[in-house]
């Protein structure tokens, strides 16, 4: 069956997959066009390196091509190909870090259950960041903030909040416990919030470090010590 280029471009992913499975390269090529920018952005976020991100893209779409006959559509094409790209990118990262690296998959997980840093800079933002700064500057601010996170936190944040994986999918992708996914995610979110607040805060609406919360008088001594060590350390 011949399908014109224009007709192909209007089709939903599901229909394109069916056409590609019948041997229509144009349909597959359209799927690649449709998803490459998003997947490239994910790979860049994970790997922070253009050449590695390009390698991941190529491997991802070759794998998708090879496994297309077995694709049954239980998940959407978008979800399926995102999963391939994420796993491929994480494998590149593991190799880059060395096969003996424990940075993604700790044999003995450190005590991550405990201390959550108390937010230091608490202030409303001046407005919508996309209106406060130019798009390019906003991009630089977001890049700078996320690239300063420890790798463990950065990966969890990207998989969960940028790519949209569930906690259990993130746990499986990184080979860590769900509890550690949650605690790393919380730390990442708090750290990014803090950095972005420095850039976008309304200084007149800043709460002092020593602000009083309701219930502070009941705060345990240990919590006070942790809070103080966070502020000073």
């Amino acid at each position: 069956m011949k399908v014109s280029d224009l007709a192909i471009q209007k089709k939903e992913d599901q229909e394109l997959v069916a056409l590609a499975q019948e041997g229509n390269f144009g349909a597959f090529d359209t799927l690649v066009n449709r998803h490459e920018k998003r997947l490239y952005s994910h790979a860049m976020r994970i790997l922070q390196n253009r050449e590695d991100a390009e390698d991941v893209m190529q491997s991802t779409f070759i794998k998708a091509m090879e496994h297309l006959p077995q694709f049954r559509g239980e998940a959407s094409f978008s979800t399926w190909v995102t999963r391939i790209a994420s796993n491929t990118a994480l494998n590149v990262l593991r190799k880059r870090n060395g096969l003996e690296s424990v940075s993604l998959n700790e044999i003995v997980e450190e005590n991550e259950e405990g201390f959550i840093p108390h937010p230091e800079v608490i202030a409303d933002w001046r407005g919508d960041p996309s209106k406060i700064v130019e798009q390019r500057e906003l991009q630089e601010i977001l890049d700078e903030a996320i690239s300063n996170l420890p790798e463990k936190q950065r990966l969890v944040f990207i998989l969960r909040d940028v790519i949209g994986m569930s906690i259990s999918e993130t746990r499986d992708a990184l080979g860590i416990s769900a509890a550690n996914v949650k605690v790393r995610l919380l730390r990442a979110r708090l750290a990014l919030r803090e950095r972005l607040t420095y850039r976008f805060e309304d200084p007149q609406k800043r709460h002092l470090k020593t602000h009083s919360h309701d219930g502070d008088e009941e705060k345990s001594t240990s919590a006070k010590i942790l809070f103080q060590s966070y502020l000073t350390g």
């Binding site: 390269f25 779409f61 091509m65 409303d124 977001l142 909040d161």
Partner: protein, 84 residues
């Protein structure tokens, strides 16, 4: 609920994965504690800024090379299938 309790459950609240009873306690606390309310609001804004992140342009020369590689690969596979 104290601020530290709220901090520990922040993910569950932001992700709407929280027991309804605890959610009510959470919201009662937020009504009386502006700093915590600001933290929750700015966490949400932070996540929104990064969500659906498609900010990197695929370099054009790589785009062309990728599509050519896939086209060649596709043709090769089809030819092999015909031979079999």
């Amino acid at each position: 609920m104290k601020c530290e309790d709220l901090l520990r459950m922040l993910n569950d609240y932001v992700d709407q994965d929280i027991d309804p009873g605890i959610c009510t306690d959470f919201e009662v606390h937020l009504k009386g504690c502006n700093p915590c309310k600001v933290v929750v609001d700015t966490i949400r804004k932070t996540i929104r800024l990064y969500k659906n992140d498609e900010v990197y342009e695929v370099p054009i020369e790589f785009h062309d090379r990728l599509h050519q590689t896939l086209r060649d690969r596709w043709k090769k596979t089809m030819d092999e299938n015909k031979e079999n």
